[in-house]
Subunit: 162 residues, 2 copies
């Protein structure tokens, strides 16, 4: 499907996968730790980690524990670049689905503030990106097919709006 | 689960849902348009739209077409705030999963640039949020249970790192 949302979803969209990535960002790196944290079945966790490894998001690193070799799971560069995705997912849930307040808050060492949130801003002007000031246009990798049967037309229609 | 990622996932994480939201942001508002664009089975699309309506992300608005009443689907305020989520999902896919170039590019009317991307920055200092400068700490809505059995401990460990 010629859509970067669909493709990203194909990597991170399975049940448990965002929470596995969350745990890796929080420093849980061992299979048993993640299993215990999430309460997920080992075969599912194993499947998801293998998939993330195949997709280049996670890598296994061996470590020795009393003579036996185990593995820790680490984020690759591609995996680390999913952190902002997790931050904005968190922000939406904090805002709309957290009656008791946010389950977690973020501290930002760059500025020293606590309880920061992630704001999605334009790479060019730095002001926030919203529905109303952003338009999608056909890109070089555009292709029509299931998932994008009409979309190019809609993108062109939006372009010509006032 | 006391996790804003898990909760957000419970709203948008089902198959097809991100693409339905994408289509709504692009101006496809009618059931048949979305069905045609995605090539999705009508019962699945119907189920997903109903779910999004229940969750307060989408609202139906009636319109008249030759005497018959139909419905269009519109994003609510909560739904519009998912647009930045879609933008960062797009950005990751554009960067890691688009050998032929991005399928779509964004134009930002605020600054007039084309081919902008969404950067996730700190709400306080405006600099980009990355794995290495951000720490999660327990928040007011924290609760231990499946999905967060170990996480508070990990958050506290990260807090005490140098």
């Amino acid at each position: 499907m010629a859509c970067s949302i669909a493709r990203t979803w194909s990597v991170i969209g399975e049940a448990w996968t965002p929470l596995i990535l969350r745990d890796l960002t929080l420093g849980l790196r061992r299979f048993d730790e993640i299993k215990t944290d999430l309460g997920v079945a080992p075969n599912i966790l194993s499947d998801r980690l293998r998939r993330l490894e195949q997709e280049g998001v996670v890598e296994r690193r061996p470590y020795s524990d009393g003579g036996r070799t185990h593995h820790e799971y680490h984020l690759t560069d591609a995996g680390e670049e999913l952190v902002p995705v997790l931050v904005v997912l968190t922000g939406w849930g904090d805002r709309w689905l957290a009656d008791q307040g946010p389950p977690a808050i973020f501290a930002h060492s760059t500025c020293g503030h606590r309880a920061v949130s992630g704001v999605v801003v334009c790479s060019e002007c730095g002001s926030p990106i919203t529905l109303h000031d952003t338009r999608a246009l056909p890109g070089p990798g555009e292709a029509r097919g299931p998932g994008t049967n009409l979309i190019a037309r809609a993108e062109r229609a939006r372009t010509s709006e006032p």
